[in-house]
């Protein structure tokens, strides 16, 4: 039995900390990465792995499984627990959060220290010497581990957005992830949508979204495109400014997404980059370079091709349509 209800209705599940740790390490994920995805502190993740909080909220368990890219069942504790290991996780809030206890969940309490013999009485002088040597060795290893790793995978993400867009029409935003090696890297990609627009579609599907923010949690093995479209009200006029970050699951580093930031509303199709009311050969080739795979189903590529086939186009803001010149 790995699931239990609490008076608040909050469902708790028992997790297998050792298995969680093993999966995380096998996938090269940091505790910081897991903590960010699940939205808890790294201390909490550490406690989960060390079985100090063997029971956690099911909601967090699902997020944890998602972060580890496994099914929830794979991280559940299916064995018999030792007495005293079934208490619910206190899940202390992050330092910047207000320490409001969750309904139905007991507030964090200092863990009771079991009565035991003083540790140094048990291990003796030789043991202390061994521990000291171990600490020194560990310190050296830690130091060497902190030095820059030449094999560390560095990620750079470039945003590509057209210099102009037509209000009320889908505007594509491309995020290109460049990766130096073929080693799989877990990433979190977050984009803050500009005020005045809303999400229209995304490829690949988003891992999550909230008001004004979209997020992908995935693994990349090669240079990859992420793509989404936003749309404004037809009466919108002005700029749209984009911002976002990428978190590297391997190194824990966070970097801002580089590239284009701003686009301005106007009367030219986003694919008409030079704004001459024609889709040139170079422009249509560029669009096909960007719109590959599923992305072509989100953007009306046929319409763009018709514009290329024609001798030009004009946007009619009143009718909200393009007129293509033959």
């Amino acid at each position: 039995m790995s699931e239990s209800g609490y008076p608040s209705g909050q469902v708790m599940i028992k997790i297998d900390g050792a298995r969680i740790k093993a999966i995380r390490e096998a996938r090269g994920l940091t505790q910081l990465y897991i903590a960010t995805v699940v939205d808890v502190t790294t201390d909490t993740v550490s406690r989960w792995e060390n079985k100090r909080y063997p029971s956690i909220k099911k909601e967090n368990g699902l997020k944890l499984a998602h972060a580890l890219e496994v099914e929830l069942e794979e991280i559940l504790d299916t064995g018999n627990d030792a007495p005293g290991e079934t208490g619910p996780e206190p899940e202390p809030p992050k330092p910047e959060q207000t320490a409001t206890p969750e309904p139905g969940v007991a507030a964090a309490q200092p863990e009771p220290e079991p009565a035991r013999k003083r540790w140094y009485d048990k291990i003796g002088h030789f043991g202390i010497l061994l521990i000291t040597a171990g600490l020194l060795g560990g310190g050296i290893l830690l130091y060497s581990g902190l030095k820059p790793n030449p094999e560390a995978v560095e990620l750079s993400v470039t945003r590509i957005v057209a210099p102009h867009f037509i209000a009320g029409q889908p505007l594509p935003v491309f995020l290109h992830i460049d990766k130096a090696t073929g080693k799989p890297v877990s990433i979190i990609l977050k984009e803050v949508l500009p005020p005045g627009c809303r999400l229209n579609a995304a490829v690949p599907p988003l891992s999550g979204s909230s008001a004004g923010e979209i997020k992908w949690l995935t693994k990349v093995t090669e240079p990859t495109f992420f793509f989404y479209t936003v749309i404004t009200d037809p009466s919108y006029s002005g700029d749209l400014s984009f911002a976002g970050i990428v978190k590297n699951g391997l190194t824990g580093d966070t970097a801002a997404i580089a590239g284009d930031v701003k686009t301005v509303s106007g009367l030219h199709h986003w694919g008409d980059t030079d704004g001459d009311n024609r889709i040139s050969d170079e422009e249509i080739l560029m669009v096909y370079d960007l719109l590959s795979g599923d992305t072509g189903q989100i953007i009306d590529i046929d319409q763009l091709e018709e514009m290329w086939l024609g001798d030009g186009y004009v946007w009619d803001p009143d009718r909200q349509t393009y007129t293509i010149m033959e």
Binding site: S156, T158, R159, I160, V161, A162, P163, H164, H176, D178, E222, P223, G259, D260, K262, T263, V264, T273, D274, G275, D281, E282, I284, L285, M286, Y288, D289, S292, E305, W308, L309, D311
Partner: protein, 137 residues
Amino acid sequence: MVMTNSRTTARLLFVASLGLLFALSAGTAIAGPGKATLSTNKDQLHLSVTVPKPAPSSLIAQLKLTAGTTIISTSPHTAKIDAGGSVVKWLVKNPPPGTINFTAVISPPANAASASGSVTYRKPGDGTLVKITAENN
């Protein structure tokens, strides 16, 4: 004027970022050389394009004809014929590496001798625009 300059700058940045984008992914694929040859047979123009490996995401094959030439038919059928009928273009999406043949039947047949052909695509890897003029065969 300020607005125009800003837009021009934004357009330049957009194009520059595309260049940067493909420069960043350079090294993952090195495009081999493409090739195009143009041959004539009476009123038929045959443009043969060798698609490099790795293949570009799309390409445009083009026939340029002298003024006064009429396009009777094209194969593949879908083609862009510019006003005046002096330029025929085919847009090919996801072309496989290998050879693709394009044909246009024109009138008068005598104009076939003065036709020229080309193929344009963006080089996989760095996104540079490649335009290859067809050799007459």
